[in-house]
């Protein structure tokens, strides 16, 4: 069902996020090699077909024994046991049980022989020929890894929606799962628009501008877990626009930037109409990025984001709207960038009405571990990519506020988690 049949405008950032997420479908699943599944979202519940470890086994190189046999052993009055047999790591379970007064030489990972209830490290034992002397009583279970301590057969190990990190991949491998069902990655058609644009490998003569948005937006797609497909620059003609949009129609989502998006050419709407595109909203009360348009092709076709052409506006609107949508499509549960609260290094001023996103550095706050200071990265013009390239995050100035003063605390949306990275271990 199409939840909207007329264009909305002037939405707040939060309203616009609700609208785009409500229309974003979750994609289907595909089977991939577990080794290639890093960062993907699990599309099947993984139930263990094995118990891990499959049997009680030794956590140490040492001697398996019965604790009861060592009753009364102390540093001064050791108790000797007869070393009856050896259990190598990787071998099969011992054929015989440990009799009273016996110990078994055992290695890390080797199965605990029946009758034994603890392992004493070889460093704590004194071997003398066929005997081993112990100068203390271990706790039952000491240095024994119990069967099923990691995973039991039939247990839900990883649920749908789990994001696969290195440990999860290892867990799947230990269960013998070399392939796994994951959510498909969204395919995103990236289009730039405007006769003034040239590709980066072309010299920008005659007032032309190098199109950088294809680079930034494609990279943002990859960071969001999506697969960008760059469709090139659409010239300012109806045929060029229709051609690009038709090509994009095979993707899950279309991101365009620049003039083609906003409808400032007479032919844009007729082309969109011809292709069956419904515009859902235009204009979000934010800066940068105010003239953003959002729509979709038919009921099941790709979602379409028309981002402003200014490089920073395009990036900031991508972060607020496209990224959460891509993450929802790919099955992620946490859709939004992390926020940190930071103390402002100087005053930030704005007019009331729109939410502002200010490019800031985040620096550790002196003498306050875990706290940060936010400082502007420089000019905030929506055309200046350099201050965006330097930014660790975007300081959020709420719509109703006109000023946040130095020393106040504000929320920063973290774009570059590198500021957490440390030059020293610190512990």
């Amino acid at each position: 069902m199409n939840p909207v049949n007329h264009l909305r405008t002037g939405l707040s950032v939060a309203e616009a996020q609700r609208v785009v997420l409500a229309l974003a479908p979750q994609l289907g699943s595909e089977t991939v090699a577990t080794a290639d599944a890093l960062g993907r979202v699990l599309a099947e519940p993984v139930v263990s077909t094995r118990t891990l470890p499959p049997a009680d086994n030794s956590a140490m190189d040492g001697y398996a024994l019965r604790c009861a046999d060592l009753a009364g052993a102390t540093r001064e009055t050791p108790v000797a046991l007869r070393v009856a047999f050896e259990v190598p790591a990787g071998g099969s379970s011992p054929e015989r049980a440990l009799a009273p007064g016996e110990a078994a030489r055992i290695f890390t990972g080797a199965p605990i022989p029946p009758g034994a209830d603890a392992v004493v490290r070889q460093e704590d034992a004194e071997r003398e020929g066929a005997l081993v002397r112990m100068r203390g009583v271990p706790r039952p279970g000491e240095n024994v890894r119990s069967a099923g301590e990691d995973v039991r057969k039939g247990e839900l190990v990883l649920d749908c929606g789990a994001e696969l990190g290195p440990a999860a991949l290892g867990l799947l491998a230990s269960l013998g799962r070399t392939v796994v069902a994951v959510r498909q990655r969204p395919r995103v058609a990236v289009v730039s628009g405007g006769d003034e644009l040239v590709e980066p490998d072309t010299a920008p003569f005659d007032g032309k501008i190098v199109s950088s948005n294809s680079y930034t937006l494609s990279a943002q797609c990859r960071l969001a877990g999506a697969e960008p497909i760059y469709l090139g620059i659409a010239r300012d003609t109806p045929d060029a626009l229709e051609d690009r949009l038709r090509a994009g129609n095979r993707a899950d989502l279309i991101v365009s930037s620049g003039g083609v998006s906003v409808g400032d050419r007479d032919y844009v709407r007729p082309v969109l109409e011809k292709l069956g595109c419904t515009l859902v909203f235009w204009g979000v009360q934010m800066k940068p990025g105010y003239p953003i348009v959002f729509g979709r092709f038919g009921d099941t076709g790709p979602l379409v984001f028309g981002l402003p052409g200014n490089p920073v506006s395009a990036m900031v609107t991508f972060e607020q709207f496209v990224r959460p949508v891509l993450r929802k499509m790919a099955g992620h549960r946490a859709l939004f960038r992390p926020l940190v609260r930071a103390t402002l290094a100087h005053d930030f001023e704005k007019s009331a009405g729109r939410m502002h996103f200010v490019r800031v550095f985040l620096e550790p706050k002196p003498d306050a571990a875990g706290e940060f200071v936010a400082r502007s990265t420089g000019t905030q013009s929506s055309g200046v990519l350099r201050s965006m390239a330097l930014a660790h995050g975007l300081l959020i100035l709420p719509a109703a506020k006109t000023r946040l003063a130095a020393g106040e605390r504000g929320l920063v949306q973290v774009l570059d988690e590198g500021f957490f990275a440390a030059h020293e271990p610190g512990f």
């Binding site: 007329h6 405008t9 969109l272 109409e273 069956g276 515009l279 204009g283 402003p308 009405g353 719509a399």
Partner: protein
């Protein structure tokens, strides 16, 4: 065949057709730019965006989309047209565009409509407010405009000072009208020539 793209329902668009122009020597609504009458150009842009389009006063060119709304009795002036538009609209907010602004774009008009709510929202290029390309909350604007009309204070600019108004300044306008062409005013034959050149360039 595709479904219609979205149009706004809670805002109406109104073109003030006005009367003859002494400086241009013609009725500006009928001046053709790129072969299309000024009023028709504006009405077509409004019809792309709004479900309800009003053609207020004057004599609409044939083919201009929208419903005709007569001016209230009295000598034609923009303020009288504004009162008529505000009274005739069913939507809560009305975007009013004078016929001498034939190059307004959907992007500019949407920017005005999408601006944070106020009793009036107008562009202010170069610090000069444009009350005749502005969005008005119907009830307070109609009250204020009628009072001004009754007391003979006919300057449209004054209306903005009586309302809680918000403005799109140059930096805001640059986001949606980078060429600064959307608010070119047709007052003189030279303006017309400039508008023709801009339309030819955009084609």
């Amino acid at each position: 065949m595709g479904r219609p793209v979205g149009r706004l329902r809670d805002v109406a668009g109104a073109v003030l057709l006005g009367g003859s122009s002494t400086r241009m020597g013609h009725d500006k609504a009928h001046l053709a730019i790129g072969g299309v009458a000024a009023a028709t150009r504006i009405a077509c842009v409004l019809a792309e965006l709004f479900e309800d389009v009003l053609l207020v006063g004057g004599d609409p060119p044939p083919g201009a989309p929208g419903r005709k709304v007569p001016d209230p009795p009295g000598p034609p002036c923009p303020l009288r047209g504004m009162v008529a538009a505000l009274a005739a609209a069913s939507a809560e907010r009305v975007l009013i565009v004078a016929t001498d602004l034939p190059l307004v774009t959907p992007a500019l008009l949407l920017a005005i409509v999408a601006w944070p709510r106020a009793q009036a929202v107008a562009p202010r290029p170069g610090g000069v407010p444009q009350p005749l390309c502005a969005l008005y909350e119907r009830a307070p604007a109609e009250r204020a405009a009628s009072a001004r009309l009754d007391s003979g204070r006919l300057a449209a600019k004054g209306l903005l000072t009586e309302l809680e108004a918000a403005y799109l300044e140059d930096a805001d306008l640059a986001e949606v009208d980078p060429d600064g062409a959307a608010l070119v005013n047709l007052n003189t034959p030279e303006d017309l020539a400039r508008a023709e050149a801009l339309v030819a360039r955009a084609r």
